[in-house]
């Protein structure tokens, strides 16, 4: 499997495939279906300082080739994530990327400091782009200066490399990425969900209790590819790409666009075995396309 090996700041990945944050919980459910050690990494669900119940239900709605979610960062709080979930995950030979969320800089700093000390957390993913949390959070993802400030603050306290997760709900994703790179981020992950909405035809009201939700799934893939294509040419830090990945060819398209590794979100709900299936298909497909090593695909669209 040497041909799938990818090295990124803090992360020595046996393959570039990992479940995306929020789409895999802390791995317990999927561990009953397959051996998690097969995965390149796991991006665990967002942790916040305090436990959060999240938004009222319904929290999901289906759209054409996509879905909306407004989970609202439900999680048991960083203490519990560290003591129970991360310790449980230690049994697997898989580096963890810990998704960190909050509504103020201090929240992020608190969570980042705590969680980055866990043995198996090899990198942080700053969730500055969750569209489902009202209090402030969204500004981090749309104003470059604020995103940079947050990045700097977290970098100061984190024991491990810091990746920042970009929101696609901006006019200029490149400016945002550059500001975050200059602030010292070790990598980027992109894209988070687009903000969307669905109305019930009978009641006339939003299907999701939170009204708006984050749009994910195959519908958003063209937006993700475009943004990764643009950002990867403008920055010198690596990108973990995501947004609508369902197949091994989707993974290769993300690598061509400029991603160095690829996360799978919504597709886990459609096919819970999608990650190991893609990992198994990847070497054969790469050979078919004439590659000897997965890294040869990275940035091929513009190189």
């Amino acid at each position: 499997m040497i041909m799938l090996q990818v090295n990124l700041p803090g992360l020595s990945l046996k393959n570039p495939i990992m479940p995306a944050s929020g789409c895999f919980g802390f791995g317990r459910e999927y561990s009953k279906l397959y051996d998690l050690s097969q995965l390149g990494s796991i991006m665990i669900k967002a942790s916040t300082q305090e436990p959060r119940f999240g938004n009222p239900t319904p929290r999901v709605a289906e759209t054409e080739a996509g879905m909306l979610n407004a989970i609202g960062l439900q999680n048991p709080g960083v203490e519990k994530v560290v003591s129970s979930e991360l310790v449980w995950l230690e049994q697997y030979d898989v580096p963890i990327i810990a998704n960190v969320a909050g509504s103020q800089i201090e929240d992020y700093v608190y969570v980042a400091e705590k969680i980055s000390q866990s043995k198996n957390v090899h990198a942080l993913e700053l969730n500055i782009s969750c569209p489902n949390v009202k209090t402030g959070g969204i500004a981090f993802g749309t104003i470059p200066e604020i995103a940079a400030q947050l990045t700097r603050a977290v970098k100061e306290v984190s024991d491990v490399p810091v990746y920042v997760k970009l929101s696609p709900n901006v006019a200029n994703i490149v400016d945002m990425a550059k500001a975050i790179e200059q602030a010292g981020a070790d990598g980027l992950t992109m894209i988070n969900t687009l903000i969307g909405m669905r109305l019930d035809i009978k009641t006339g009201k939003p299907v999701i209790a939170n009204k708006t939700g984050g749009l994910s799934g195959p519908a958003i893939k063209p937006v993700a590819i475009r943004m990764i294509y643009e950002v990867s040419q403008a920055v010198n830090i690596p990108i973990i790409g995501m947004g609508g990945v369902q197949t091994v060819d989707d993974v290769i398209e993300f690598l061509y666009a400029g991603a160095s590794a690829v996360a799978v979100g919504t597709a886990n709900f459609v096919n819970p075995f999608v990650c190991p299936e893609i990992i198994n298909q990847l070497p054969g497909r790469l050979k078919e396309l004439g590659f000897e090593h997965v890294t040869e695909c990275i940035g091929r669209s513009w190189k």
């Binding site: 929020g22 789409c23 895999f24 919980g25 317990r28 459910e29 999927y30 009953k32 279906l33 669900k45 436990p51 959060r52 119940f53 999240g54 239900t57 319904p58 929290r59 999901v60 709605a61 289906e62 759209t63 054409e64 080739a65 996509g66 879905m67 979610n69 989970i71 439900q74 048991p76 799934g217 195959p218 519908a219 369902q246 919504t266 886990n268 709900f269 459609v270 096919n271 819970p272 075995f273």
Partner: protein
């Protein structure tokens, strides 16, 4: 164990207005146990509709490796499902969730099974398993109207069965709760599946007795990973404790979660 399998359609027919009965065959059946569990179906290969659809298991035949579901074809996914023909395959993930606890009732006791509309199907397997255990069963099944009634014969063979319709076109006119009261039905344990307002009414009126309710919620993963389907627990000082309908339920004891 949860499995994913392309199962084969062995029987598929319309049994009431918009209501279809679908029998599938495959290895996955051998994993099925408690009545009240459900499966998660992908009705097409493509991305529209994208998500799986949760449908309850209505009958299990371990010998033939077959199980049956009954569903209402209404939205995009279930309408596509209704077009499947014999020998077509359906992508099934399951069995999922925890069903009705048949251990909670003893041989010789009396169970009352109360179903509403498309909540009726899972009660059939439950009734069979209870009868097989030696429990005496009674059923009160509510439907909107005569054309929507199904499974009456199957339930009648297992125990006394009262059908109610909202519009009085068939059986007792009125709510299931009224029928229970009017017929002065006695029971040791009640099991129910149906629309939330019905479950709420049952909980209010019969929550002091052993009562198990099967809930519905919009789902993403169906296996407990996405937190789409959570509900608040009954006793929750911090406001952050929760249960997932897909993996902790769909069956809960009355009071365990907030309806």
């Amino acid at each position: 164990m949860i499995k994913q399998e392309l199962m084969v359609v062995t029987k598929h027919e319309k049994i009431a207005e918009h209501i279809f009965q679908l029998t599938l065959q495959g290895e996955l059946v051998s994993e099925m146990g408690n009545p009240g569990q459900f499966v998660h179906l992908k009705v097409t290969e493509g991305s529209t509709p994208l998500l799986r659809r949760p449908i309850s298991i209505s009958e299990i035949n371990l010998e033939k490796k077959q199980f049956t579901m009954i569903y209402r074809a209404e939205g995009a996914g279930t309408q596509l499902l209704s077009k499947k023909k014999t020998e077509d395959v359906v992508d099934v993930l399951g069995p999922l969730g925890n069903g009705f606890p048949i251990d909670e009732i003893e041989k010789g006791q009396t169970a009352l099974l109360v179903g509403g509309g498309i909540g009726v199907p899972p009660l059939l397997e439950l009734s069979r398993q209870l009868v097989a255990k030696g429990v005496s069963v009674q059923h009160v099944l509510g439907f909107q109207s005569k054309s929507a009634v199904f499974l009456e014969e199957e339930f009648s063979m297992l125990g006394k069965t009262i059908i109610t319709t909202d519009d009085g076109t068939y059986g007792y006119q009125g709510f299931v709760t009224d029928a229970i009261k009017d017929h002065d039905i006695q029971f040791d344990t009640m099991f129910s599946c149906g629309p939330t307002p019905m479950l709420k009414a049952l909980e209010r009126l019969h929550g002091h007795k052993p009562l198990f309710l099967s809930l519905e919620e919009r789902m993403g993963c169906g296996i407990g990973a996405c937190f789409a389907c959570v509900c608040h627990t009954g006793d929750d000082p911090t406001g952050t404790s929760y249960k997932k309908v897909c993996s902790d339920g769909p069956v809960f004891k009355a009071g365990e979660v907030v309806l």
